[in-house]
């Protein structure tokens, strides 16, 4: 696997960078926050993204997508990360589209996929139940009932949950974990929006006696853990790509500030104490970029190394974004503490992204286990 972007992928990257800079700068996120926007993202802009084909990058051509793949979607996500753009790219274009493409029955695809590709159907993965990412800890129960199931449980951190039309719910069944497609308007589903520090979308989803048919099962009954892991690996890598973009932007803004800000009669970028830390951040961003690209390529090639590379990419993105956002504040000094300055948005986003789909500790543990220690 060559770690080089194809010319097509470069074109997508350039197009996406222009798109987000022009249509969704950080100011757009600020406006969504300050206006207490009910959706927390722009549906019109999401429609434009879908029109560009981004919702179908990981969907095969026979299912109506382009099959362009994860490397391509990774470029879009990295560009979105640069402007901290709020959108259902991860919840829907990545996780929902992958779920249906990988495991959806013909009927499930017919029901949801064309709407998803058009930007009309938004999906959300309802997996985590506690304060930490722990996909194996599932207390939500799906009890067999006639030819269907009845679901009961509580999901604590569902990205885009309150704007989703369709939930992908992990629940315990006989024989293991099963994934279910549950419409948000099904009887017994309650969605409560959470207001997060990064002004991005998340919700608590409660399932109380939610009745679904056997046709709601995604993949096989009892075989959901492997599928969930596969979807989560894609989500981890996609989010890592987004975080890489955010890291680059926070870092570049900080370096620019070091060149402009004068103290003691000179640019503060002349100070070695700051130069060295900036150079260290550069090095961390470079190795993170390699890990992210390797993981994106591994997914497209169906490599058996995908789980380890996904954990590597997410762990490196976690530490690098934490570093670049923290140093961004410190090196901007007092102005970085103000809400008016945009560097603070990166700090807030970094910590939410860090705990989403696995903290550094989670992925260190997983990497060690995958490597046999």
């Amino acid at each position: 696997m060559a770690l080089v972007l194809s010319e097509d992928a470069q074109l997508v990257r350039d197009q996406a960078m222009d798109f987000f800079r022009e249509k969704s700068p950080i100011l757009a996120l600020r406006k969504l926050r300050d206006s207490n926007d009910a959706d927390g993202f722009s549906r019109a802009l999401w429609k434009e993204m879908a029109d560009l084909g981004w919702a179908g990058f990981v969907v095969s051509e026979e299912s109506g997508g382009s099959g362009f793949g994860m490397v391509g979607l990774g470029q879009v996500l990295e560009a979105a990360g640069r402007t901290l753009a709020a959108s259902p790219l991860i919840s829907t274009a990545l996780i929902g589209a992958s779920a249906l493409d990988i495991a959806g029955t013909q009927a499930q695809k017919s029901a949801y996929l064309s709407g998803l590709l058009a930007g009309d159907v938004i999906t959300a993965l309802a997996s985590d139940e506690g304060a930490h990412h722990a996909p194996d800890s599932v207390a939500t129960i799906a009890r067999a009932d006639g030819d269907g199931f009845v679901l009961d449980g509580r999901k604590s951190f569902v990205l885009d949950g309150h704007v989703a039309d369709l939930l992908i719910v992990s629940a315990r069944t006989e024989g293991g974990i099963t994934l279910f497609l549950v419409p948000t308007n099904a009887a017994g589903v309650t969605v409560q929006r959470r207001i997060m520090v990064d002004s991005r979308n998340a919700a608590i989803v409660t399932l109380a006696g939610v009745r679904v048919g056997a046709n709601a099962v995604l993949g096989g009954v009892g075989g959901g853990a492997g599928l969930l892991d596969r979807l989560l690996d894609r989500a981890r890598v996609g989010l890592a790509a987004e975080m890489l973009g955010s890291s680059c932007e926070a870092f570049e803004r900080t370096v620019q500030y070091l060149k402009e800000r004068k103290q003691f009669g000179v640019a503060i970028g002349t100070f070695q104490a700051l130069k060295h830390r900036a150079a260290q951040m550069f090095a961390e961003i470079e190795v993170t970029r390699s890990a992210v690209l390797a993981a994106l390529v591994a997914i497209d090639e169906g490599s058996t190394e995908t789980p380890a590379l996904a954990s590597l990419a997410k762990a490196k993105a976690n530490t690098t974004f934490n570093l670049t956002s923290s140093e961004g504040i410190q090196m901007h000094g007092g102005i970085g503490m103000t809400d008016e300055h945009e560097i603070g948005f990166f700090l807030k986003r970094s910590r939410v992204a860090e705990i989403t789909f696995g903290s550094t500790g989670f992925h260190g543990d997983r990497y060690a286990a995958l490597m046999g220690y």
Partner: protein, 396 residues
């Protein structure tokens, strides 16, 4: 591309036919082949393998054939390296002559200098060492004070070099000397090639914290060096010196890649042995987390080296990432040994004696040796300065 595929097939066949079986086993450090006028051989296959590779010019694969090199393109050289790696072939010959001097000889040398020095490097006939640092010129290398005065057809050289790696085994030294003490410090330096087998040149090994003596102090007293041994123009040696440092950084930046091929117990196994094993995992959670963090950083760095190589192969312009290779590789190597030592506990604290296994003592010595990694070839702080200036454009 078809010809590259053919080259790969033919190279593999040739290596398979010509590399002696023992030279396909992982090489302990004391079996490295250095060549030189008076080489030491542990077994005859070392010389056989060196001679066979040298005859093809593959001890310096990208050097033009007219000087005895392999005449390979970068892509072909990469294929050769990959195929050697796949068969587990040891490096046939190592030294500063190949990795550092040869590239600047090819770039700056006269035709006569190339004819004289390159074939000798390629055949392993001459072993070179590096005369850069001085007691008063470490990170501030351009502050060097060794003097060379042009007197007719020769320079008269007087100087004192330090940290000259393996100078006590070397045949010749490439040396930075001051030829104009009145010029600004970067503008009065010249690059001289000096034969060490003459009166007035003396190398004294320095005992290090690891107990080894790979570095020397080298004294040069009233030594006459032919004018023809000046590389490049007089007083213009700093440009060559910097270029050579780029090649040195590149070779040190590869430190992790070489290490991964070496015969050694994997770090996680060392940790299981000393920090306990439970259910297949390292029992001590802190040790386990440290091992994983190190392994992940090492993996991400390897992928970065691969990304740089892949971009070069795809004909993309070189990105800025190679500027951090030396810094990152050496900091990682120090962490490697810190992590191993922490996992070993008291077994990592041994100096000598039979209650410590040879491996344990070796790792302890390598831990001490690794501290030099971020000092030699430009300290980590100098590397970070270079990144800040050249890549990030931060002001002086």
């Amino acid at each position: 591309m078809a010809s590259l595929a053919t080259f790969r097939v033919e190279t593999r066949a040739w290596l398979d036919e010509n590399c002696p079986p023992i030279m396909r086993t992982p090489a302990p450090a004391d079996e490295t082949v250095w060549g030189g006028r008076d080489p030491t051989w542990k077994f005859p296959e070392q010389k056989l393998w060196m001679d066979r590779m040298a005859a093809k010019g593959w001890t310096l694969p990208t050097c033009p054939k007219q000087y005895g090199g392999g005449g390979l393109s970068l892509e072909e050289a990469e294929i050769l390296a990959e195929e050697m790696n796949a068969l587990g072939c040891r490096s046939p010959l190592q030294g500063m002559g190949q990795t550092m001097l040869a590239p600047v000889l090819i770039e700056y040398g006269t035709e006569a200098q190339k004819q004289e020095h390159l074939p000798a490097v390629i055949k392993g006939e001459i072993r070179w060492c590096q005369g850069y640092s001085e007691p008063g010129a470490g990170s501030d290398l351009a502050g060097l004070q060794s003097r060379a005065v042009l007197q007719g057809d020769h320079f008269l050289v007087n100087g004192h070099k330090i940290w000259t790696s393996n100078a006590h085994y070397a045949d010749k030294i490439f040396c930075l000397v001051r030829t104009d003490p009145t010029a600004k410090k970067h503008e009065g330096i010249s690059f001289l090639l000096i034969d060490m087998a003459q009166p007035g040149v003396r190398a004294r090994p320095i005992r290090l914290i690891s107990g080894a003596s790979v570095f020397c102090e080298t004294f040069i007293e009233n030594v006459q060096v032919p004018k023809d041994n000046l590389l490049g123009e007089i007083n213009k040696g700093w440009t060559i010196a910097k270029r050579l440092l780029e090649h040195e950084r590149k070779s040190i930046g590869g430190i992790g890649a070489r290490q991964s091929q070496r015969a050694d117990m994997p770090m996680q196994d060392i940790a299981k042995l000393h920090a306990g094993e439970a259910g297949g995992k390292i029992a001590d959670p802190t040790v386990r987390q440290n091992v994983a963090t190190f392994q992940m950083d090492a993996a991400a760095f390897q992928l970065t080296r691969k990304r740089a190589a892949d971009e070069a192969e795809a004909g993309r312009p070189p990105g800025p990432m190679s500027a951090m290779f030396k810094y990152y590789a050496t900091e990682l190597n120090k962490r490697r040994y810190e992590t191993i030592l922490a996992a070993e506990g008291v077994q990592g604290m041994g100096w000598d004696g039979e209650d410590f296994k040879p491996d344990e003592i070796r790792w302890t010595r390598e831990w001490l040796r690794s501290k030099a990694n971020t000092i030699e070839g430009g300290t980590s702080e100098v590397q970070l300065n270079i990144i800040a200036k050249r890549v990030l454009g931060l002001p002086d």
